[in-house]
Symmetry: C2
Subunit: 225 residues, 2 copies
């Protein structure tokens, strides 16, 4: 409910009914922005999805910009909450990494969760001052949590000692976001295929076990020369 607190300045608590309806309105905005773009979608598009008049929207969101802010904020808050849960587990870092990839990509399976993350990636730069900085702060928080997985893995010796956690974080986000940004998945591939293959590449790379052993032996004998 933290998101509601920031999007309403009133000192009254929202009713349960209002909160449910508010989320429906934000869901509809996420889908409208994902389908038509922020510039292309009108408040009428959002209202039509809900079967209400555009004027009734203002009870939940005062403007199209406020709707974009709510979509970006709610989207990233869900990601952060889940990633915190993953970090708190007592598991090897590689397991946490795999769960983080799954957390990042799983929303693509369901509607409107996929719309939230697409709108976040494509349109957060169009937010007005204030919300833009607030959302950037949340994005940085998410990135920081991801980085923590790499820091922990290097500290425990599970990940390479020469790994740069900052660059590894950017690599993982780039990897995952490219799936989300794609207009369509390649034929025959499911989100689960992506989660499997992308987390394997991030953890083990593309090299086979045999080739990895050979390359290590070569490196070792070169160091001994």
């Amino acid at each position: 409910m933290a998101a509601l607190a920031t999007s309403r300045t009133s000192r009254w608590e929202p009713t349960a009914r209002w909160a449910i309806r508010h989320r429906e309105v934000v869901d509809a905005a996420a889908t409208a922005f994902a389908e038509k773009g922020f510039d292309g979608a009108s408040t009428r598009d959002i209202a039509e999805r809900l079967g209400i008049r555009a004027a009734s929207l203002y009870y939940y969101l005062p403007s199209k910009e406020a709707a974009l802010a709510a979509v970006c904020e709610l989207g990233v808050r869900d990601f952060i909450a889940n990633l915190r849960g993953i970090l708190d587990r007592s598991e090897p870092a590689a397991e946490k990494l795999r769960s983080a990839v799954a957390n990042h990509l799983a929303p693509l399976r369901t509607h409107p969760a996929a719309d939230y993350i697409r709108v976040f990636l494509r349109h957060r730069h169009q937010l007005p001052d204030g919300p833009r900085q607030a959302v950037a702060k949340l994005a940085a928080e998410y990135q920081g949590l991801m980085e923590q997985i790499f820091v922990e893995g290097v500290a425990s010796g599970e990940f390479r000692a020469d790994l740069d956690p900052k660059l590894a974080t950017l690599a993982l986000l780039g990897l995952c976001n490219s799936v989300i940004g794609a207009r369509s998945l390649p034929r025959g591939a499911s989100i689960d295929d992506f989660i499997d293959e992308y987390s394997k590449i991030a953890i083990h790379g593309v090299i086979s076990g045999d080739a990895a052993r050979k390359s290590r032996r070569k490196k070792k004998s070169a160091e001994e020369d």
Copy 2:
């Protein structure tokens, strides 16, 4: 010169002087679009960079759309030519993969090469019909060459037998394009740092040698149970 042939329908060969000037005009367009966006940049912005009148541009490029088509086409053609050269080498697949990452990211070091690739990534969807399909075909050709590296690596046993070359290609492009799409590099990191770390992650993953050995032993004994 293939790019010139497609952008001019005249049956006369361009003079060497025209060809040099044409490339300067396309360079200026790439920089203008990268800095102000395709919608934000005017033909006047392009002309001003060259110190000529906007009307003189039309001798080289008939419209802003033609300028965008030339930028996207020349940009991706350079990438393809270099990647073909890498594929023709008789090197291990992992070496080729590293060179492909370097080929993809090295243009970021120089101006205006970085502008070409940024404009390609951000604005190719705004191309009019015809050029848009031509550029999509070139992009598919580039993606196909990248995929060939993974196919070769799996066939030679150097890469994992269970690797999906299609998904691995998308992963690698996502990884590299995230650096190009970023508004700025993290403080202290250079393009070479990205090339090093990203090709290491793609080839070997983030796992340490010790952890990889342990995980293989565990997998093997589970299979024997």
